[in-house]
């Protein structure tokens, strides 16, 4: 009995020392930051917890937390969203204030470390959680997000552990990954110094974590810092190039980008694939100023004039075959002139996806189709059927090349092999 008490005391002492060390460490991290985390949070609490809540709600939307932490039909922020990756399957965690399965037992400091460093009180997070981008968030903003999330309804829901391939299933590897690849800032794809541009950098690189999908990744899944926002193919529908040059090539300007982020639809097309939930859950809620900041950052302070695609001269016979396919199966909705129909189908002339130099997304859209989608402000687009069964590789090649030349300003250089390789 006495021996047990001795052990217990020793254990408690060790725990106390460990806690002190950890606390000091957390403080150090917090203090090393421009805005000290803990003081800012408590200051906010004392001034107005309602302000912190409202600010946190906006920030949680701007950071699109729901994309991974709210499952379709599930309780808000209770997790469970399945994320497929080349390394295996991840499940968005439960970030409701449930003490058992959520973040209910976490302090503001714990939350800060999870978002900023990818380290929870229990484990190192995999970089599927974009702490690689959120690392640039201010401590004040992280504290406000904590205040909002802790005020949500707790949901007692356990989330499955990730199912990963070897060696990615060895979680300690994340420590080394962090040492090698975790950086405090991400490179800029545009240049500028205006207030809007700086705010846009924060919205795009930190909150919106756009680079996580739009910047290509290297062998260990780290962002290729030499190619910021140049486009990447993480999922079946690739994230396009959103550098100033890439956007200008596809006809984007500031006001069209803002329309796209606020409503999901612009003259260049509608949001689909993984970008649809981004608009649906996140960007539609951003203020006008923040949308302006995002477009300013993406295009740069001195944006290049958008180039509208003009048909490149090509062999007429090749175009005629594609035009025939177009009129047979596309023109019914997109119009014989490619102008689209409001609330039915987007315009194809000058369409951003058709104008991509890489035909990947155009081919995938033709093969798989696009589900019917509702957009903000009562807008919607009808289902686009997939044509994998209806059209042969040869017909699809004619169609793709016709669209690329006549509507996208690209070359008719797509081969049947490229189409066959993408068949589901």
């Amino acid at each position: 009995m006495k021996r047990r008490t001795q052990f217990l005391c020793a254990g408690l002492a060790v725990a106390a020392v460990a806690l002190t060390v950890t606390a000091t460490w957390i403080d150090k991290i917090a203090m090393s930051y421009a805005e000290p985390m803990a003081p800012a949070f408590y200051k906010m609490q004392s001034i107005s917890s309602r302000d912190a809540f409202a600010r946190g709600r906006y920030l949680v939307k701007a950071a699109d937390c729901a994309a991974c932490h709210t499952a379709s039909g599930g309780a808000p922020f209770a997790g469970g969203v399945k994320l497929e990756s080349p390394f295996g399957t991840f499940y968005g965690s439960n970030i409701t204030p449930d003490r058992e399965h959520g973040i209910g037992a976490w302090s503001a400091g714990d939350f800060y470390r999870a978002v900023h460093d990818g380290v929870t009180p229990h484990k190192h997070l995999y970089p599927a959680m974009p702490y690689t981008s959120y690392r640039q968030l201010s401590a004040t903003d992280i504290a406000a997000m904590y205040a909002f999330l802790m005020a949500q309804q707790p949901v007692n829901l356990a989330i499955p552990a990730p199912v990963l391939k070897f060696p990615y299933n060895l979680r300690f590897g994340v420590r080394f990954w962090n040492m090698l690849f975790l950086k405090d800032t991400l490179p800029d794809a545009s240049s500028g110094q205006s207030t809007a541009w700086l705010r846009g950098r924060y919205l795009v690189n930190a909150l919106g974590h756009c680079a996580e999908c739009h910047t290509p990744r290297d062998a260990f899944g780290q962002l290729d810092k030499t190619k910021p926002l140049q486009g990447a193919a993480l999922a079946r529908i690739a994230a396009p190039d959103i550098t100033p040059a890439g956007l200008a090539r596809r006809g984007w300007n500031g006001s069209d980008l803002q329309a796209f982020f606020s409503g999901g639809i612009a003259p260049q097309g509608s949001a689909f694939g993984d970008m649809y939930p981004v608009v649906h859950l996140s960007t539609q809620y951003l203020t006008h100023d923040d949308l302006n900041a995002i477009s300013t950052y993406l295009l740069g302070d001195h944006a290049a004039a958008p180039k509208h695609a003009s048909p490149a001269p090509e062999d007429a016979a090749a175009l005629t075959l594609g035009r025939n396919v177009y009129l047979a199966v596309c023109a019914g909705c997109h119009g014989a002139d490619g102008a689209g129909k409001p609330h039915v189908a987007v315009a194809l002339q000058g369409n951003s996806t058709v104008s991509q130099s890489d035909p990947h997304n155009l081919i995938v859209a033709l093969l798989d189709g696009i589900a019917a989608q509702d957009f903000p402000k009562g807008e919607s687009m009808q289902e686009m059927p997939g044509f994998a069964q209806q059209l042969s590789d040869a017909e699809l090649v004619e169609l793709v090349n016709y669209l690329r030349v006549s509507a996208g300003g690209q070359r008719a250089d797509v081969t049947a092999d490229a189409v066959a390789a993408l068949r589901p």
Binding site: D315, A316, L319, T320, R323, G335, D337, V344, A407
Partner: protein, 212 residues
Amino acid sequence: MKALIPTAESTAGAGMNDATARIAEQPLVWHRTRPISCRVNGQQVGSIQVPIGLMMIDFLHEYLNLTGSRLGCGQGICHACVVILDHPDGSCEEVRTCITGAHFFDGKQVRTIEGHATRNAQGEVVEPSAIQQKFLEHFSFQCGYCTPGFVNAATILLEKLKQQPIARDQVESTIGAGLGQHICRCTGYVGYYAAVKDLVLNTPGLVKDVKV
């Protein structure tokens, strides 16, 4: 914004030396024509020269005088205009003729609402098909505008069940899946669904565990 393909005016301005000028069209005004030949309700049609931009519903109405297929929404939602496309392997599917060009059907085989009933040597209808009869018995429709689409969809469903019978407890969900995209604005679907259920349950060989 430029049109997808230069119109007559714009190509004239470009001096007609551009390769694209040779395929210039004016949508709704002038299209070049191409020949179509296909089988409609078992009869060979064509070869006929048809404008390339013509939708199948207009081809049926204006060229073949088959006016039973209904143009509803014109944008592929209501399914009043569907016809049955028969594949060489014996399978079949619905195709919406309001958004599919006539030339898509070149070399293919289709059935329209005019092809279901039994006709005599003079071409007069003497007996509706089984599903048409059931729709009448159940007072399935009121204005009848959506009926051609429902007849085609139900016919495809029944043919599928003949190939692959289903279990009794799948009957309602299968009917829902088969007819679910068809829109009716008068009768609220109940008559259609009840008629198809009646026929499915009372036709031998469509449901595994029901003795008829």
